[in-house]
Symmetry: C2
Amino acid sequence: MPERIGFIGLGIMGRSMAAHILRAGFPLTVWNRTSSRMEELVAQGANAATSPADVAAQSDIIITCVSDTPDVRAVTLGEAGIIHGVHAGALVIDMSTASPQAEREIAATLAAHGVAHLDAPISGGSEGAAKATLSIMIGGAAADVERAMPVFQVMGKTITHVGDHGAGQTVKLVNQILVVGTMRAVSEALIFAQASGVDLEKTLAAVSSGAAGSWTLSNRGPQVLRRDWRPGFTIDLQQKDLRLVLEAADQVGAPLENTAAIFQMYRALQAAGLGSEGNHALIKAIERMCGIEVGSNA
Amino acid sequence: MPERIGFIGLGIMGRSMAAHILRAGFPLTVWNRTSSRMEELVAQGANAATSPADVAAQSDIIITCVSDTPDVRAVTLGEAGIIHGVHAGALVIDMSTASPQAEREIAATLAAHGVAHLDAPISGGSEGAAKATLSIMIGGAAADVERAMPVFQVMGKTITHVGDHGAGQTVKLVNQILVVGTMRAVSEALIFAQASGVDLEKTLAAVSSGAAGSWTLSNRGPQVLRRDWRPGFTIDLQQKDLRLVLEAADQVGAPLENTAAIFQMYRALQAAGLGSEGNHALIKAIERMCGIEVGSNA
């Protein structure tokens, strides 16, 4: 008999992930702060709970997928949080992107109640959630990873147990450093190409398959050329993740000058009202400075 | 009957490229500043010339592959340069990485003598030259690209005619902006991972195949973990290419803050005596600042 799953946080990612769990045949109880978001899943057979504690009382494995570290703390340890309904022997899995240090603290608090914990943040965006091709980076004990694997497998493709509590979040932050740093490189390259007057499509074709190649160049480069700013991941969320990166880097003494500069560029774009655009709109921070607009003469 | 090829500049790249031309059955005349470098090719059937002008006098298509813009000018337009031996109707192809503006000037000077010109810089490193898998980015007239195609095809794989004179160099510089920007992102990501204490091999495995992925991460990441600084491309050459990028960017008004910072980092590593190490040793600029050494606890 499959374990009973609880799912807290039905945002753009969580909704798809919960639906995959349901379709795979797991009994599912859901909760979301905005309760109307639960209706679609209830129509598909999920059970709606009245609070995170209520989810926990009805579940063996409780998954959280919320926006930021304070939200994770609130639904897990706060008033009417998981900790007030959970039974000993349960497993709590946080799939949000949150502070590695906070994950270690939450894991320790739950352990004192006989409850196991994994941090298992995801990468791949709303498309990856919809197609169940997410990358999942997991921190915690091997036995708990093994227990959760049947659930991870209905949501993701590249599932990696990277280390102890917090390590999943650390590797997610590594991922974000790479994503934004590569995005900045692509931005400068396209600004230079545009200013130099070369054909941008031919330029992408010439450089994408060699040593200059990246996922970002192949996927976001053409989108920038079309000036299509629809988000795979928004500037607001990216900027939040970079705050986590810089806080964690500060704690371990890692000097991330480039990532810090990109954080400021995203902050400026938020101030300009562009927070809901895709994170590839980073290039606008350079465009606005010099008045060069990529793809504008196409 | 195949055109007679001349090849000037038998460095680490040029040597392999000239050998491919010879093996493909083209009559080949070579010249190199350090004349001993010609011996190997002469043993394989090439003809050794006494100067670039002498190469030009015996060739229909003359290829140059030298270190920097002043060298290109010298072998093409200088004393005993190509221009003093070349016949009308010949085609000169510069496969060095050099200033786009200089290429336009050289093309105009040669055109006044009835000589065609292409700039056709390459990407792919010594390995790409040896395996004939180079990317070749070409600027110039379509008819000349067509004429040169049989020669390009014995040296490269991704062969792209990107625009008019100078455009090949511009796209090569775009390539270099991408290469070093991605390298900086990889460097900060690995420094953060190391300082955070996560397993570096598992971290690479978790992030390499998704939105954070790049050629640099997959190829240079593992090399950094092994602290293997053997060059695919040296810091000295990379720093020279970035000088070309920043000069060209200055001319067109493109603000490349990240590339400018990386130029300074490479400059510092040269001052520290590391100019002959691979360009992925960029990470040492961060390591030396904070005393964190990636892979040192492996």
